[in-house]
């Protein structure tokens, strides 16, 4: 597919449409909005009367395409270029050029003999359409879902133990550069696991290894002696030095404690919370705007350049169909586990349940994230159009994808009534290669509105939607006490980073693990970093006599 032509571009208005709009504005559209109907299958059409068949005013025919004149409301048919009564109508009456296709609810210009497009018209149609979406008995919106693909992977967890094999000491020195164990300094596996992932995030790694944060300059410039980015720079240098002995990130831990006093203890912490706080701290130091207002849209610090994306939220009024969109920046996406089966709607076929009892998929979670959600009646929102609070529908989609996509799986449920929280151990199946295209705003909105023009205010360049996983932070154990382990994927080989112990593992181990944080990077960057010389295994002769403590 050619990348030169944009797949969608708003066609130019024909001058007949322009003339019509100048003379009549949007009145005709609103009058016809009353007759816009959505059939049970989600198609929009014009339905003047359920009692009668629409017939052509010239020949009483009901076959072929039927058009409804926007000026005089007469119906005409168009069977072929030889029998075009719609054209005849526009020739008989001056100014009656614009009509609406009864079957499709689309604008048509009789003189140009072509469909014409007007974002205003589409908006009018869609407003009505949204109000009339078919609902099931309990009032939930039923929308035709995509057919699900069933992955044929059968996970037999008993085989996992067999697959985890420890290589001999020789092969350690054949590991790619940048693999180094991190000592546990007292329940700091949450910190070690996230650090391992960040050490191998291509944009971050390239930034620090190319010396973009100058430690010398930094110490002279800042007033306080503490600088988290400096400490991170130290870790990068240590980990990529070639030394394989496990490293203790004590200085970094101390610095982080200074910044987050409430978490300065040896208790177990949440890795995601740590990840977010770390990004915050680095941004504070590195971002152009110091303190106060964080202007996410414009921030060019390394953190935002690497992780920052944009999430679009569409809220639709259930009474009038008016939709308002807001954009929120984010550095990661938190996903709920999809624990429910889907209901594919097939015409004439019974619906099938195609979900096994205990497995969720990442695709399922992403579908859940971008689903059209009916907000409860206790969450009524103010509608500008209706000028009062109404029931609403909400849908999320991704407007801009980051370079590094961090997906956080919400593995906990809270029961406020019982006042307890529980961890969800459900296994999540995730792909190594992920295409985020179906979750982009352009795709989600297009699916909702079909080919209606108004929805596309400049498509995002969707050439970079393919991602490759490079790090997986997994959790095992209970909510209050557990252990974090990170799996790193370097040059398509997986390594398990369990605090000080680094081992080579097979991909089945990773697939069987209980993922908590998934780190994906854009495919282009992943393959580029694989070509890096530093990732090539070093010659075994170089490090022959370096003792490798901590491996067993």
């Amino acid at each position: 597919m050619s990348s030169r032509n944009p797949s969608y571009s708003t066609p130019k208005e024909c001058n007949h449409l322009t003339k019509y709009k100048l003379k009549h504005g949007l009145d005709g559209y609103y009058l016809i909005q009353e007759f816009v109907k959505t059939n049970p299958f989600g198609r929009t059409m014009i339905d003047k009367s359920k009692l009668e068949l629409p017939r052509c005013s010239f020949c009483s025919g009901y076959q072929g395409r039927l058009y409804f004149c926007l000026i005089c409301s007469s119906v005409t048919c168009c069977l072929s270029p030889g029998s075009d009564h719609t054209l005849l109508h526009s020739q008989s009456f001056d100014g009656h050029e614009i009509a609406v296709d009864l079957e499709r609810a689309e604008l048509y210009c009789s003189v140009c003999c072509d469909q014409v497009y007007d974002p205003d018209f589409d908006e009018v149609v869609m407003c009505k359409h949204m109000m009339e979406l078919p609902r099931s008995e309990n009032g939930d919106l039923r929308l035709c879902k995509r057919k699900r693909l069933n992955f044929g992977i059968d996970l037999d967890l008993r085989n996992v133990k067999r697959l985890v094999s420890l290589r001999d000491q020789w092969s350690k020195s054949c590991f790619p550069l940048g693999l180094r164990g991190l000592n546990n300094l007292g329940n700091t596996c949450f910190m070690n696991s996230v650090l391992q992932a960040l050490l191998h995030a291509p944009p971050l790694r390239n930034y620090y290894l190319s010396g973009r944060h100058n430690r010398e300059m930094c110490r002279k410039r800042s007033n306080d002696r503490l600088c988290l980015p400096c400490d991170i720079d130290v870790i990068f240098s240590a980990v990529f030095s070639g030394d394989r002995t496990p490293y203790s990130p004590a200085q970094f831990l101390y610095s982080w404690w200074q910044h987050s006093e409430n978490l300065a203890n040896y208790e177990q912490q949440d890795a995601h919370e740590f990840f977010i706080s770390m990004l915050d701290r680095i941004h504070e130091k590195e971002g152009k705007a110091s303190h106060a207002i964080r202007d996410y849209g414009d921030c060019q610090c390394i953190i935002h350049r690497a992780f920052s994306g944009l999430v679009r939220s569409d809220v639709t009024c259930a009474s009038c169909g008016f939709t308002s969109s807001t954009y929120d920046p984010c550095v990661d996406i938190s996903l709920d586990l999809d624990t429910h089966t889907s209901y594919p709607i097939n015409v004439g076929k019974p619906s099938k349940l195609n979900e096994s009892a205990g497995t969720s998929t990442l695709v399922g979670c992403l579908d859940l994230f971008t689903r059209l959600e009916k907000l409860g009646s206790d969450q009524k929102l103010y509608c500008e159009n209706c000028q009062e609070k109404q029931d609403a529908l909400k849908q999320l989609s991704i407007k801009k994808l980051p370079l590094v996509l961090c997906l956080h799986i919400k593995r906990f449920e809270h029961f406020p009534i019982k006042r307890l929280s529980r961890k969800i151990d459900r296994h999540l199946q995730f792909p190594f290669s992920l295409d985020m295209k179906p979750y982009l705003s352009s795709s989600v909105v297009r699916k909702k509105f079909g080919n209606r023009m108004f929805a596309f205010e400049g498509d995002e360049s969707d050439s970079n939607t393919e991602f490759e996983v490079f790090a997986v932070v997994t959790h095992s154990g209970m909510l209050e006490s557990g252990h974090y382990v990170t799996y790193l994927r370097l040059r398509n080989q997986w390594f398990k980073c369990d605090d000080a112990w680094i081992t080579k593992v097979d991909e089945e181990v990773v697939r069987a693990s209980q993922c908590y944080l998934l780190y994906y990077v854009q495919k282009v960057l992943y393959h580029k970093s694989s070509e890096d010389v530093s990732c090539l295994p070093m010659s075994p002769h170089a490090d022959r006599f370096v003792p490798i403590a901590g491996c067993c």
């Binding site: 005013s57 010239f58 020949c59 009483s60 395409r65 270029p81 003999c113 072509d114 015409v347 004439g348």
Partner: protein, 112 residues
């Protein structure tokens, strides 16, 4: 042509323009539309034509036509005129048979 050509159209023209008996085809069509069966049949047809690749074939034809003529020189009317004969001819017999069967059973169920 009929005399209605000269008559100025009114928004709610309900005048009876049929001065002949409706044909059987018309009656069937009316019954199908009134009961909503026509919509269901249309959806079924759409699904079948997608499944058997007919829709993709037509899309390819349209693309080829648009490429030849130039993107900005193509109208909906042109496209319809060009692909209608080919489209009608390439509908699989199984699809025709299924729809005919459904129409028959519908007619059998309604008193005509």
């Amino acid at each position: 042509m009929r005399s209605s050509v000269k008559r100025p159209p009114t928004p709610d023209a309900e005048e009876e323009e049929q001065d002949r008996e409706p044909t059987l085809q018309e009656i069937i069509n009316i019954k199908l539309v009134e009961s909503g069966e026509k919509e269901r049949l249309k959806e079924l047809l759409r699904e079948r034509l997608v499944e058997c690749g007919w829709k993709d074939e037509m899309k390819t034809l349209c693309r080829a036509f648009a490429r030849k003529r130039g993107r900005n020189n193509v109208t909906v009317d042109d496209l319809v005129h060009v692909i209608t004969p080919k489209g009608r001819a390439s509908i699989p017999d199984s699809v025709k048979a299924e729809l005919l069967q459904r129409i028959r059973s519908f007619l059998a169920s309604t008193a005509l």
